[in-house]
């Protein structure tokens, strides 16, 4: 299939000049190739339309609007890089940038490590395995609004479960979401917990794909459990690690709903993150041009993080 599609002209050119051979066969092949090409385009058309309408066009729109003062009314005026200049002098943006990077730097590696540990545990022959796997996956399929509401109650400074537990040990209550020194950390805990299940499932699938022959060979060579993990399991997880890393970076950078439901970016700017700031600038302050400039910076930042992650894992991805 691949050969036919990728080298249609070569087939035709190679055969047609031969003397004494009819040109019908190559024409037939050429016609088949054309039909296959058309069929290919038809098959990718829905995905292509979806990508163009919902990804390409909004991306281009955001980039164009980033250089305007568009605020939902009137025509957008081109203002060059003024939005970008203003952004870097804006304390809200700078704080959001720092908070987001901190959030990513903590949530991504910690959740990946915990998810891997859980996956390894759930890859053993233990009782109620299905129940455990389901329990870890439930947060993934639960709406973030519901998750946020439950955590709001857990973190309520007056009557919340977290402070109730502290009280059992005679400890003073903590303003989990109301103290600027704790609010972002509290959201990180929720973020780690919420993303655990999806990562765990991918790791679990990858663990089950580790060659038992390799493990057995390592055991026969006298490798201990750590050595088996370090030299057999870990390298086999490369592609899964890469996939989890990339999706985690992108997903974590775009944290919004959790902040929207629980803290609204507060107290002060303690939990203001980039997507929430974009939302505030676009729909709170009605400055779509400014918000678009922030989006462009965020896209560049995500790209940078992905390149960094790719380089860090490059040797281990088999891609």
């Amino acid at each position: 299939m691949t050969t036919t599609l990728s080298k249609p002209s070569e087939v035709g050119v190679a055969q047609s000049p031969r003397p004494g051979r009819s040109g019908a066969a190559p024409r037939r092949r050429s016609s088949v190739v054309s039909r296959q090409k058309r069929a290919g385009w038809w098959m990718i058309a829905p995905a292509l339309v979806q990508s163009v309408v919902f990804i390409t066009v909004p991306t281009i729109a955001a980039i164009l609007l980033a250089f305007t003062d568009y605020s939902f009314s009137g025509a957008p005026n081109f203002i060059g890089g003024a939005n970008f200049v203003e952004l870097f002098g804006d304390i809200r943006f700078r704080t959001a940038l720092v908070n987001t990077v901190l959030y990513v730097l903590v949530v991504v590696p910690v959740s990946m490590a915990i998810a891997l540990a859980v996956a390894i545990a759930l890859n053993q022959k233990i009782r109620a395995l299905g129940a455990f796997r389901t329990a870890y996956y439930i947060p993934v399929v639960t709406a973030t609004v519901a998750v946020g509401t439950v955590w709001l109650w857990i973190f309520n400074s007056g009557s919340g479960l977290a402070n109730g537990v502290l009280a059992l040990f005679g400890l003073s209550p903590v303003g989990w979401l109301t103290d600027p020194n704790h609010a972002l950390s509290s959201l990180m805990v929720v973020g780690i917990w919420q993303g655990l299940g999806a990562k765990m499932i991918i790791y679990l699938a990858a663990l089950q794909g580790v060659s038992p022959q390799l493990v057995e060979a390592a055991n026969l060579d006298g490798a201990n459990r750590w050595q088996v993990f370090r030299f057999v399991t870990w390298p086999s997880l490369g592609p899964a690690q890469f996939f989890v890393l990339i999706t985690s970076i992108v997903g974590t950078f775009q944290v919004f709903d959790l902040v929207y439901v629980t803290t609204k970016g507060g107290p002060g700017l303690a939990t203001n993150v980039l997507v929430f700031d974009v939302y505030n600038n676009a729909f709170g302050s009605l400055r779509l041009g400014y918000a678009s400039a922030e989006t462009v910076i965020m896209m560049i930042l995500i790209g940078g993080f992905i390149i960094l992650g790719r380089r860090l894992q490059g040797a281990n991805t088999h891609d």
């Binding site: 939902f72 957008p76 309520n156 209550p173 303003g175 002060g268």
Partner: protein, 427 residues
């Protein structure tokens, strides 16, 4: 090269589309009612409203308005969009950007001037509304919030008044006189300190004063306190908070936070803590349900109310206000629908749903006002109303206010510095 050309074309087309959608005026309805017999008028009007919650009760109350409207306009379809105040800007802005603007928009007091300035709302003078005609039918409290450049852009529906509530029993227990509650900053702080309860470790177990707000929302308390200190937030669209009173007010709030109430403390129901005796004094709304389904009569009987009066006695008033979309193609039908929403029965139902009071000139005579002491109190004091907003860029500044006030209350930034910065942004 080809690809970049294509992207350029797509980008240019998109920019053109944005410009066109921003410039075009489209509405939900196709046929106007002007000089058309109401019985023969046809079309659809789209109504954006946070005044009716998207619950069964809210939808039923809205449908009752539609039914009344359809008695006069039987062939006009009404499409509601039950928004919340949290999603209002998203709805309005995306409707403008898409060119499918609403015909009727219900918003709050801070929205009118910004959207009037952006030509999103229609001058109601085109429908014969003047300050005089509005004043005859509506509470004077909300007329300034409905006005932009001396023209009326919104019709007040309900008033959301704020007062200070206190528990008489708690006052007596603390040796305070419930017949003479404190109203000044100094007096309130002294009383709150007496009323605050702590455990052996010094942690506050019962706040002495409830700001009744979450982190990021102390802005409204600041506006109310600032007015009580003699300064409205804006005067003639110019900021009026970057001054001695502004700094004094913010610093007073800071001195209360974590001293008589932990920052951002709220009860699980997110209702004023004074209603349920979780706090002996604090900010309250404009209506309270004293039935057994609400807080109960015993709770209501223990409540007293007063207004802040550091140098001026004030009552903060927000509310629901209805406007005609400037891009509507059926403005007369939209205005006719607003009149249906403003009937006494409709306003009574809307006020009940929102724990507010009707924004009518004779609000004191309404059943909901007569039903509870708090509503009677705030209705009696509507003449002392102040409101939040007043500048065309208020929606932008408001966002900055939220985080900046938090920063001062938490001791992270200086009050004068923050107010100076906000004043610069307000220009």
């Amino acid at each position: 090269m080809k690809r970049s050309t294509t992207l350029g074309v797509v980008g240019t087309a998109l920019a053109v589309a944005v410009v066109l959608s921003a410039c075009t005026s489209t509405g939900g309805a196709k046929e106007g009612a002007k000089s058309v017999d109401p019985a023969k008028a046809t079309g659809t009007i789209r109504v954006l409203t946070p005044a009716y919650p998207a619950s069964n009760e809210g939808k039923a109350a809205f449908q009752a308005v539609v039914d009344g409207f359809n008695k006069t306009y039987p062939h006009v379809k009404v499409e509601p969009d039950f928004a919340t105040y949290a999603t209002l800007n998203e709805k309005i802005s995306t409707s403008i950007a898409s060119g499918a603007g609403y015909d009727v928009l219900v918003t709050g007091v801070g929205w009118v001037q910004p959207f009037a300035a952006k030509n999103v709302f229609e001058d109601l003078g085109n429908h014969g509304v003047t300050k005089k005609t509005l004043g005859e039918k509506s509470t004077p409290a909300l007329i300034p919030a409905s006005t932009y450049k001396d023209k009326i852009y919104a019709w007040p529906l309900t008033a959301d008044a704020r007062a200070i509530g206190f528990r008489k029993s708690a006052f007596i227990k603390a040796g305070l006189d419930p017949k003479n509650p404190p109203t000044t900053f100094k007096g309130i702080k002294a009383a709150a300190e007496k009323l605050t309860e702590r455990d052996a470790a010094g942690n506050i177990t019962r706040p002495g004063f409830d700001f009744n707000t979450s982190p990021g929302n102390y802005r409204q308390a600041f506006v109310q306190l600032l007015a009580a200190d003699g300064k409205d937030l804006y005067v003639n669209g110019k900021q009026n908070f970057d001054n001695k009173q502004g700094v004094e007010t913010l610093n007073w709030m800071k001195s209360m936070i974590n001293h008589v109430q932990p920052f951002g403390q709220q009860n699980a129901a997110l209702k004023p803590m004074t209603y349920t005796n979780d706090a002996p004094m604090g900010f309250v709304g404009g209506s309270i349900d004293c039935s057994e389904a609400g807080v109960g009569q015993a709770n209501c009987d223990d409540l007293g109310f007063f207004l802040l009066n550091n140098t001026r006695e004030v009552e903060m008033v927000g509310g629901n206000l209805a406007s005609v979309g400037a891009n509507s193609k059926n403005k007369d039908l939209a205005w006719a629908f607003i009149k249906s929403m403003s009937s006494d029965a409709a306003l009574e139902a809307m006020a009940k749903l929102n724990n507010q009071i009707p924004a009518t000139a004779n609000a004191a005579d309404s059943a909901i006002v007569k039903s509870n002491a708090l509503s009677k109190f705030v209705a009696k004091n509507l003449g002392r109303a102040i409101y939040e907003g007043g500048a065309t860029n208020w929606l932008e500044v408001r966002t900055d206010f939220n985080s900046s006030v938090d920063d001062v209350l938490l001791g992270k930034r200086d009050a004068a510095e923050v107010l100076g910065e906000l004043a610069t942004k307000s220009r």
